[in-house]
Amino acid sequence: MRRRMVFTFLAPAVLLYLFFVMAPAFASFYLSLFQTSGFGETPRWVGFGNYAKLLADPIFWLSIKNMALILVVGGVAIFALAFLFTILINSGIWGKKLFRALIFMPNVIAVVALSTFWSFIYMPRYGMLSNLFKSLGFEQAAAISWTTPDNIFWSMLVGLVWISTGFFTILILAGADKIPTDMYEAARIEGAGPIQMFRLITVPMIWDVIAITMVLWVIEAIKMMEFPFAFGGPTPSQDLLTPSIYLFIMGFGFRQPVYELGYATAIGVCMFLFTILAVLVLTWATRRERVEF
């Protein structure tokens, strides 16, 4: 009886999930086995042809390289900053809530507005960075063009780190706030500094929170699109290409009517597989015995 009731109550949610999530996911995989523009013509069966083409596509691998750099380099920078902010905010400074709000602020601003802001920072000749260096007398630094093809990816990544850090800081802070304060007081009495307390108390106590935030970052990094896309202007250069942007270009036409919907769907399926793989690896790598308090 009890089991029957469980099934009855779960059924609506399961059915909705199957219909709106699983069915489209399987349909997408099925679509990736065809060559189609999506305009209603009869799709042509190509089997795993789209995947074979992907493996030999240098642009796809370039997008994967960019994604990996965002994931690893961006991830290291974001979590380093998030930990630093956590240490500083939890060190008993004045205006904790104000700083927390300021750090989170970029998350409530539209990505397009943020990308415009960062473009203005980097703009050669008139930009904030250029004028700052000029005012400090660093003429050589002021003459650097941060958005040339050589530099644009790293300039974008700096902006992306700035935007993303706040969200992960807030998550880590929320976990850290639950740690009993007497543990920190005891550590202080024993002579521990902020970094020692963070390393030996905060990190072990909120390890599960950190692991979850890392998983969230991995998912976000793999499907990264908005900021690099908006930062790159109407036709972002290949230096900014991520798998999501490449998927969009191939499936939705961009400026040119490419419309290779089957190929684009294959990119989407690959991104899904990357996500699953990365999350599994990360979950395995971050497994620890849970600390209860």
Binding site: Y122, M123, R255
Partner: protein
């Protein structure tokens, strides 16, 4: 009101309501999906044209979906879902590779007068025809010219150049007043203007497409291709400031409005795009891409990006839709486009807005027109997007040598055709 009169009154009201709701005999509502956003001047102009059409044909009304620039992509999904659409508009080159290629656009031959194209500017009706069959009615004319500040040119003592050497001399003159004659934005597509125009001036109209369509890839090794690439690269430092490599759109073109650069090779939409920063009274001038010595192309050849409207093959109101397309390029409608939309008309004899006057003269006197960015994107959008535009940008921005660009294009072209 007496109890007995209530049923009578109710019946009368119901009758009136039914009369209002019932479709009038012969009435039709054309569903139009548009590439414009509703507040844009071009959308306002189109709305006025539809109103003018309805005033003449009271039985035909319009239901408009203002989709913005992703119109064709949104329509793709809608058509698959069975949505009925009669008319849509988009850049003509994008339509060729989209709805037109898929056989979803209504062929106009036989439905419009045989001399339909004669009333339009040279080449306009034919440019988007496929194998001689017409599907599109171009109704907005955008041309690619040098757009410049006439006062700055006068200050530099220069004049509109007719040849490449004269352009370089003009650049030198402008450098003497501590400005640069030209500026670009670091953008894959905009950067292609120079190389594609240079190649067309050297080898003739549609040279870039012709070069690509040589399936061996060997056409890229013609000396003119390398020369065109080197000439494009030679502009840096002399005509275009080096820091422009870092200008993200629209930072580069804004320097024209700010008075730091004299001009920009761009579409005729540039004055409208910069109007808020340059001001309505900015002294715009325009000239064609100059001729090159010994080249097969003429200075009067023009790259264009026309905006077209099509009727859908699946339309249930084909006659009305085609009739509206005919009206769209009538003198009356095109004057509305010019006056309210501030854009160029595709109809001969309808002057463009004053600030576009020189572009109008160029369009009227065009010896040939070709597609924007050299036209490779029209029929080969995948190659254009993934290979040509990015590689050309690398070459133009100086990341790779001109010879390396030629070698890459020759190899990639062969690879592309071998895979077909």
């Amino acid at each position: 009101m007496t109890r007995s009169s209530r049923p009578l009154l109710s019946s009368m009201l119901a009758g009136c309501a039914l009369a209002v709701m019932a479709p009038q005999a012969g009435a039709s509502e054309l569903v139009f999906w548009s590439m414009w956003n509703e507040p844009e001047p071009q959308a306002v102009a189109l709305r006025a044209i539809m109103d003018a059409y309805t005033a003449k044909n009271p039985d035909t009304t319009f239901s408009v979906v203002w989709n913005g620039r992703g119109n064709q992509t949104k329509l793709r999904a809608a058509l698959q879902a069975g949505t009925k659409v009669d008319l849509m508009d988009q850049d003509g080159d994008q339509l060729i590779g989209g709805l037109q290629k898929q056989g979803l656009a209504l062929q106009l031959d036989g439905l419009v007068d045989a001399d339909f194209g004669a009333a339009l500017l040279p080449g306009v009706f034919d440019i988007y025809a496929s194998e001689g069959k017409h599907y599109q009615v171009p109704y907005v004319y955008n041309s690619v010219n040098f757009w410049y500040n006439t006062e700055m040119m006068a200050e530099a003592g220069g004049q509109e150049p007719a040849t490449w050497d004269e352009l370089l001399a003009l650049c030198d003159a402008v450098r003497k007043i501590d400005k640069y004659a030209l500026v670009v934005d670091n953008d894959d597509t905009y950067a292609l203007y120079y190389f594609s125009y240079l190649l067309e001036r050297k080898l003739g109209v549609n040279a870039l497409v012709t070069t690509f369509e040589d399936k061996t890839g060997e056409s890229w090794r013609k000396p003119e291709v390398l020369e065109a690439a080197q000439m494009a690269q030679s502009l840096w430092g002399r005509c275009i400031p080096d820091d422009a490599r870092g200008f993200q759109y629209p930072a580069g073109q804004q320097t024209v409005a700010l008075g730091d650069s004299m001009g920009n090779l761009n579409g005729s939409w540039l004055p409208a795009e910069l109007s808020s920063s340059a001001g309505e009274d900015f002294p715009w001038g325009a000239f064609n891409f100059p001729a090159v010595e010994g080249g097969a192309g003429q200075q009067a050849d023009l790259q264009v990006a026309l905006l077209s409207m099509i009727a859908l093959e699946s339309s249930e109101h084909k006659d009305e839709a085609v009739d509206f397309l005919t009206f769209l390029v009538s003198e009356e409608a095109q004057k509305i486009i010019v006056e309210q939309g501030s854009v160029g008309s595709t109809r001969a004899g309808v002057p463009w807005p004053a600030m576009l006057d020189e572009a109008y003269q160029a369009a009227t006197n065009a010896t040939a027109i070709s597609n924007i960015y050299g036209g490779v994107g029209v029929n080969y959008p995948d190659f254009y997007t993934t290979v040509l535009a990015p590689q050309q940008n690398k070459m133009f921005m100086g990341e790779i040598e001109a010879q390396a660009f030629v070698d890459t294009m020759a190899a990639e072209t062969k690879k592309y055709w071998d895979a077909q």
